[in-house]
Symmetry: C5
Subunit: 354 residues, 5 copies
């Protein structure tokens, strides 16, 4: 975070002053029209930015993976005249999904700036990554911090002649990217569904001391997912409502479908949260039942030895006790003791205490 | 679910690539007008789709039960030009109720696509099934995954000359189908009402250890029902509000009645959820009361034997104790013991501890 | 409830097929204008319906008490052309308050259909009854299932020359009826207020085991009242908003007053619900305090006899113990014991454990 | 409350039939314009009402304290033609703040009817009083049930030449009255803030058994205040929104300030309610900690005497025990006992149980 | 607070009557345009207010730190004709963020009055300070109660030629100040995030008795922050919506960015509150687990000595007991005792009670 009171946004010329790291950066450029397509791995960035796109290209998608080299970011920011506030949001990369429509001035065309949040499960760890999209009239820029294979299938769809993606405009490509981002939530959800089921079984059979801890972790992650998907849904509904010039009518129909996906994810999240809440309750009930069970049996145990010890004490008194001379008193004493124990056990069981 | 990043919707030509199963498929076609009607079990699907409908038919309803044979789905999708997104929603069949109005192009007429969710109780098990409806100007297609008898009474109403259904247009048939779907919730609700009443009695008389578990199951199912009926109500209110060209004015009046049914179901669901919540509380109170009762009585028991054992111990001491030689000490000791016990019992009872 | 899939509403000709019972039905007809009025107990229904109303009558109110004789219902339904959906809602009579404005066709005038829910306390039992009202331009029909004296004071007001009711139109009569329905909630509320106060006293002095049960019953009934009064308020606000042709401007002012009454009832209901919730909390605290008190005193008791029994045991050991031969050891032993008990009691009291 | 079904509102002629009491009634009349002012204690009400106001008077405020003499109420109701519903609301005086704009007929000018609720702390008791205001074009009537000094400072401001109140119209006087009513909440709030702080200290040092009871009382009173201030805020926002003809533009700016005061009060109320909720939690935690502490120490105590008593019992057995003849066994026994006790205390302390 | 019923607002002439203190007051004046700038520490206030601003100055910002000298406040209030209500809000300084647009009369230009609330962490103590801003067409006044370094970086940005702040109008300066106020929440949030993490670790390892207290403090402070940031967000959204004449189009874009910051802060606050709630739950679970553990082990301990003491008592009885003469009985007795203990320990462990 920049310190309080500092200037908002990052101007293009300030970019050079920021520290770059050696982390690799991968730039992929895809050009396509219904008849032709070309996907290129950019190696020399300056050459690439100096050239014009091929005349046949109706849609150009430049995917930048890696935000570590400030000179590269600056080159894109200058070429495509990105807004300083958008550059800041893109680089700090801890934003929830949002949509900004920066107004264009005369020579600077207005661009739709969209922040999405992709989700990945590494074992039990939930990680999320910001994807920043800039939509122009025929160009889409996408920025991510790390390389990932999430958009690979989209390249396949571009390569396929006659596919719906290939035959539509750049807003359909935007839909494809956001669709991939939204779909990335489903595997995470499935993994938590399994986790909750496991916990449910575990609680019933043998509640471990860390069960509650694990339920809490699941709950917290579900909340994180919910925090990200709600503004995502809001964003999609805003895209439908505001009817930006770059969005074609056909794409809007598809965004409605995407809106439904988000609603479905939210629905699942709510269901899982309620299940997690019910699990917490069950855990509490199981633990308290167990404790009560133990205390009950032990107390019964102690109660039985109260009268017995008293009886033994009585016959240990140093006063003349009738029968204390008779040799049969000892077995009789034991019979009485066993009878008392049996009577008490029967009584306890009858009242449901055992 | 399709993998993330894959193309949205299912194109007609993609249907053939999906795996079909041997599960049977039943197609029923009903044509009617006020004067005439005909209900036919379709055996040869291709012949049927090639023929035109009879000239007198004002409303045609084709009911497809079974979604396993992709060639049949494809035939309907091509003949009635269903939207790829609608086909996907229909086949995946895990959607909550929703309403889509896919715009028609020149030669492809726009169709209203409605997803409903029917509910069935098999013993204690709650199952639900998606019903997908496509409404055209005089045709209604309904798709379900399995054969069911839920719509049988609608055929009877079609067969009855002069019935309100027979004399109205296709939107009234839509109302009849959605009405049947909504009415399917009432038997489930009644079964849960009974279940809650049973649990209430059980809790009061003899709370079983799995009572809480059973309350949780009821709660979870009530939540599932609520998840399905809320969008159902939303859908009906949307139908009333948006005034689609296929919906006649008379039908809208009837949809208002249907909206009331949904409101009634939601009202009942809320009541049952509150009862279930109160039952959980009661269970907790009953269990804790029981436990406290046991602990209290047992502790009283142990308390009584404390002084008695002490007394016996005193007279067992090996020091000169006055009266230890007298033969009457033993009965006197017992009298004292009984007096102590009685005094303590009276004291405990007076303080309300027994 | 009719089975799922059956035809919505009850057509006039279907009424005859429904089973009638012998339960009596009472029909009262009141005609009035500022100058004249006449209240008649109808004995011959057919004659009555065939005759025209007197020419001077500006407002006619027909009150039907008893919904058991289908032929009578059919006669009214035909004469006043009631909508099939309204007839169903009237006969099933388990609806929450609602308002329907069924559109009239050429020869069938549109009527406002209003469902109200009246409340009655029989001892501790809360019962409610549906009142169905049909408002025309100068006629009001009211249907109830049982005879009740709730509307008697309205007849008195009709009989009083110059009263506000007598000098206004039929919509003012509607207001009077709904006012009576809303006012029927106040006695029930008062009875629950008293009940909560009693419970509050009881809890503080001697919490009975069924106190919680009784609080739950009050809570549940408050929820039932709330379920009925919320749509009632909604209904009244809808009447004000929609400005139906049958409602005069003056009446609307009075409906605003009625709306305030509903708001007041809701306010009271919320207050009582919070009091009930606080009572539950108090009950829990009182019970747990009591339990803790008992456990504490008993445990202190047991703790005291631990050292005493040990001491007695020591002097019962069969080893040479100094002083065991001296006759004064016994009184000394007792003095030591009493000293130990006193010391412990002082210690416990000082730490606040007694 | 009038019985259900009775006529709404109280007509002017019905007032005489209501029972008057001997309780005194005080009528004060203030007339003022920027240049002149006159405050008069009215003794002969009929004379006063018959006279016209002085020609120079731009604002007249008549304050009626005491609602017990029906003839006086009737005189005002007739002179200022108050609406029957407003008279009822004024006399029953148990209403939450509200605003009514009764429409005027030709000869009866429309008046704004405002109900406010003033708050007073008598020691720990919270009491509230309804203030009913009728606003005309240049006249303000205020009715209260008892005499109070709350509006005294307003008379001072009227007496002060050049004060903002004196130089503005009647709506500014309305603002001054409502401002005084709203400001009456602050002392009550402060008293509860202190009360909560005291309770907080008390809970930490020595939680009394009635602490919970006292927290409940504070909570309930905070709820009562909240019930009154919410509609007050609503009322003020309605005054701003509806722009009644009697309200000048300048006054509206001041009402915005008043709205802020209400918002501030609500904010404080919410803060106090959360503090009260946290106190309840703290009380529960403190009580349960205390109980646990007691049980723990006592149980440790008892545990120590278990082995000791056993040891003493062993050496009391009537069998040949080695060392039982040696005189040194007794001191050795005591040493062993003390060693066992020490070992156990160390163990308990090390595990954190003491 | 002024007493109830007193005049609203503080008139300029009333200021002199208020008590001034000796607390220092610092006035800084910054004038700038794209080409030139001048920052001046004002020492002679009267001289300063009498002079006109330099002709080149496009934006003038006067920062007043210290509200203790009433004559200085009066001088500003008269020169810039501040509204009495605004002066009151500024001096009482306990307001939540708000926005007022006081209408200007002919010679008195309308000014936007904005109240912000800045936040500071002093160790664990959270303090907040009101910042009052008056925005004119080219002048901005800012009032604070104490001197702080929060706005220092803004002076640096003014000094920097060509900075975005320098080249824009006064509304951009307003944005810079509100931005600094909003950014002041982030360090506080971070400090609470760390605090919660520490508490989380502490709870797991060794829950201190005051842990709950500390969680409560964090919770309460989070609520305070939330109380201040919500109206802040509302204020910013109002600025965007109402399009006041003093706000340029470019600034509005930047305010949208600021709105996002607020949303982010609220998002974090909600996350932390949920974490704090989970911590409370964890604390409760840990404490109760610990208690149960202790009680369990101790009860097991006592249970073992029940049978042993009984056995010892039996062999202490004064009746003929077989084997009591044999010298090997004593070791056999001990073997039996050890066997009983071992058997019980095994049993307990097997049932999971140890």
């Amino acid at each position: 975070m920049p310190p309080p009171g500092s200037s908002p946004g990052i101007e293009t010329h300030e970019l050079s002053a920021r520290t770059s790291t050696d982390a690799p950066i991968r730039v992929t450029c895809a050009d396509y029209c219904p008849e032709q397509m070309q996907i290129e791995q950019v190696t020399n960035l300056n050459n690439f930015l100096d050239q014009h796109r091929p005349a046949w290209s109706m849609v150009r998608w430049i995917q930048i993976e890696g935000l570590s080299q400030m000179e590269a970011i600056r080159a894109f920011a200058e070429k495509y005249q990105l807004h300083p506030l958008a550059i800041e949001d893109m680089l700090i990369a801890s934003h929830q999904p949002k949509l900004e429509d920066y107004p264009g001035s005369d020579e600077m065309p207005g661009r739709l700036f969209i922040v999405g949040r992709m989700v990945k499960m590494d074992g039990d760890m939930l990680s999320s990554e910001q994807v920043s999209l800039f939509l122009g009239r025929s160009t889409l820029l996408s920025f991510q911090d790390s390389t990932s294979s999430a958009f690979e299938s989209i390249y396949h769809r571009i390569e396929l002649p006659g596919s719906r993606l290939r035959t539509h405009d750049v807003s359909f490509l935007l839909h494809a990217l956001i669709d991939a981002i939204v779909d990335s939530y489903f595997p995470a959800l499935e993994s938590y569904a399994e986790c909750l089921e496991e916990l449910d079984d575990e609680l019933r059979i043998h509640p471990a001391p860390n069960s509650l801890q694990r339920i809490h972790v699941v709950k917290r992650n579900l909340v994180l997912l919910r925090r990200a998907i709600w503004p995502m849904r809001e964003l999609i509904s805003q895209l439908q409502r505001d009817k930006h010039e770059c969005l074609s009518e056909t794409t809007l129909t598809y965004f409605r479908d995407l809106y439904d996906h988000c609603a479905q994810i939210i629905d699942l999240l709510e269901t899982y949260r309620e299940i997690a809440a019910a699990l917490t309750e069950t855990y509490m009930a199981v633990v308290s039942n167990r404790m009560n069970e133990i205390m009950k049996v032990l107390t019964v145990f102690m109660t039985i030895f109260g009268p017995l010890s008293f009886l033994a004490g009585v016959f240990g008194m140093n006063m003349p006790i009738p029968g204390n001379e008779w040799a049969g008193t000892f077995p009789v004493f034991w019979i009485v003791c066993i009878a008392v124990v049996c009577a008490m056990l029967v009584l306890f069981r009858r009242r449901g205490w055992l």
